[in-house]
Amino acid sequence: MTTADGILATTTPRDRQVWDFIRRNPTIVIGGTMLLLIALGAVFAPWIAGDPIVFKPVNRLKPPSDEFLLGTDSLGRDVFARTVYGARISLLVGLSVAAGSIVAGLFFGLVCGYYRRIDAAVMRLLDGIMAIPAILLAIALVSVMGSSVRVVIIAIIIPEIPRVTRLVRAVVLSVRELPYVDAARSSGARARKILLRHILPSTVPPLIVQATYICASAILTEAGLSFLGAGTPPEFPTWGNMIAQSRLYLASAPWTIFAPGACLALVVLSVNLLGDGLRDHLDPRLARRM
């Protein structure tokens, strides 16, 4: 069985093994490398780019030049600086949503899969939440709770929870009847120990894959919400906000829209490639089907 440890085991610094891994999993390497570069850019933003907030109306809508690599927007702000800083919010939202929905979904999924009595009730509740279009749920939550990065993260996590719960629950249901779990049960292990020691590990590989897809879709949703005016506060340099504020200048200053747009697509593409690669690597059976 391959697990997360499998990756670590195959990336020991022996050249041949490394090369083998790259050859077999090109998407993990490509996606991972692009993502790493973007993450480094986000972390070291203050050293790479200028000030993303300061605006000089004199400089408004300047095309790309040596002074402004990607030109300026309608307020004369540096599009390159804003794009680099924009990666911070996108990655923060993507990672927080992935972590938050995995933790919550893992809890509900383990509990529902193992304790059959509360299963039906919780699953009906989650079915209801799944029926509400995620973006509308997020729009409603943000408009009630006010717009901040924290609220946006919570608003994107809630509609993801049912999907993770279903995934974890399906794994628990298939594993709980296996002989080794039976053996643990008959040797007197408590339910909590069985869940955490014997069942939880089986949920890890599919959850790692799921986490990458959630991360990608969370980045897209955050950008969509900001674009619609229901996301991060408008003064934040996020890619969605940048595109929303430049929509009137599509014909005259296309760089103001396509610079953040290209970065958005690139980040999501990297995360999706990483996810596809991890899926193929962690679950070859599933890979053949998709």
Binding site: R124, G128, I132, A134, V144, I243, P254
Partner: protein, 313 residues
């Protein structure tokens, strides 16, 4: 058969009930006075009191909920805070562009996706297959509004082939209406095509490995007939499932697409409501879109029984 349909229909009631509770509670779950939230930051106490009175927020919560449920069931989604018109009426006024956009996208996207998916599976490993799969990953990754602006920039601003934005009612003729829907449909449908093409390919690959496909090929059945009659029919259940689930993508996408292309549909209604804190509209559209999603997936469940006569719940 009828009994099955009735049972599935009844099963949608608890789901919609939970949607209802959730949508109703949204405004009440948050700390603070819902009337004050609706009134906004610059409201006077008199404004707040007026809103509280008008929405019945001064009555006990369970009473408010029952009144709200009874009204919703009868199709009364409340009164818009901004325009003072019934939400149901506002939604119906805006329904045409949204229905036109989503149905065109649905039809075109499903036909393209299934064709492409079948071809990719048939020629698995070929250049065509690789291109289709690469396109599928791209389709998931480029956001609706970026695709939208790219299309507008090239086809409307640079080439001047198609209108930049707006909507022409179908009353003005079919072509003028469709002309305005071409770019929005492509933007909206891209992720949906990617999703369906991917599942079609996967499902077809599995079926094409079956013995009866080899038998059909061996006895000289024409390739087209093997692909469509023997394979696609048996690969259909997962494809139809994803078409149903993917409607959620279309619903989310339509809200953003209408904003990009300035189409006066239900999605725009919601987006305009955000800035105006017009909660009855947001709540009403949530109920309607959730209902559409539940109904589409009910239809999918019923289609199953035609596709696979073995399915009997």
């Amino acid at each position: 058969m009828m009994a099955y349909i009735v049972r599935r229909l009844l099963a949608t009631i608890p789901v919609m009930a939970i949607v209802g509770v959730f949508v109703f509670m949204l405004l009440h779950l948050t700390p603070g006075d819902p009337a004050a939230i609706i009134a906004g930051d610059n409201a006077t106490p008199a404004n707040i009191a007026a809103i509280r009175n008008r929405l019945g927020l001064d009555r006990p919560l369970h009473e408010q909920f029952l009144t709200w449920v009874w009204a919703t069931v009868r199709g009364d989604l409340g009164i818009s805070m901004f325009s003072n018109l019934p939400v149901t009426k506002l939604v119906l006024q805006r329904a045409e562009p949204t229905i036109a956009l989503t149905t065109t996208t649905l039809i075109v996207a499903v036909s393209i996706a299934i064709t492409v998916g079948v071809l990719a599976a048939w020629k698995a490993g070929s250049l065509l297959d690789r291109v289709v799969m690469a396109f599928a990953v791209m389709g998931f990754s480029v956001p609706v509004f970026v695709v939208g602006y790219l299309l507008v920039y090239f086809f409307s601003v640079k080439l001047r082939w198609l209108p930049v934005q707006g909507y022409v009612s179908i009353d003005q003729g079919l072509w003028p209406c469709l002309r305005n829907l071409i770019l929005p449909s492509i933007a909206l449908g891209l992720a949906y095509v990617a999703l369906i093409a991917r599942i079609t390919r996967a499902s077809m690959l599995e079926v094409l490995a079956e013995d009866y496909i080899r038998t059909a090929n061996a006895k000289g059945v024409a390739t087209g007939s093997v692909l469509m009659k023997h394979a696609l029919k048996n690969a259909a259940v997962p494809i139809v499932t994803v078409i149903g689930i993917g409607v959620a993508l279309l619903i989310s996408g339509v809200v953003i697409t209408e904003s990009v292309f300035n189409i006066p549909g239900v999605g725009r209604l919601v987006v305009d409501a955000i800035a105006r804190r017009d909660y009855p509209i947001i709540q009403g559209v949530m109920i309607i879109f959730s209902g559409v999603y539940v109904l589409v997936n009910l239809a999918v469940d019923i289609i199953y029984t035609f596709l696979d006569p073995r399915i009997r719940y």
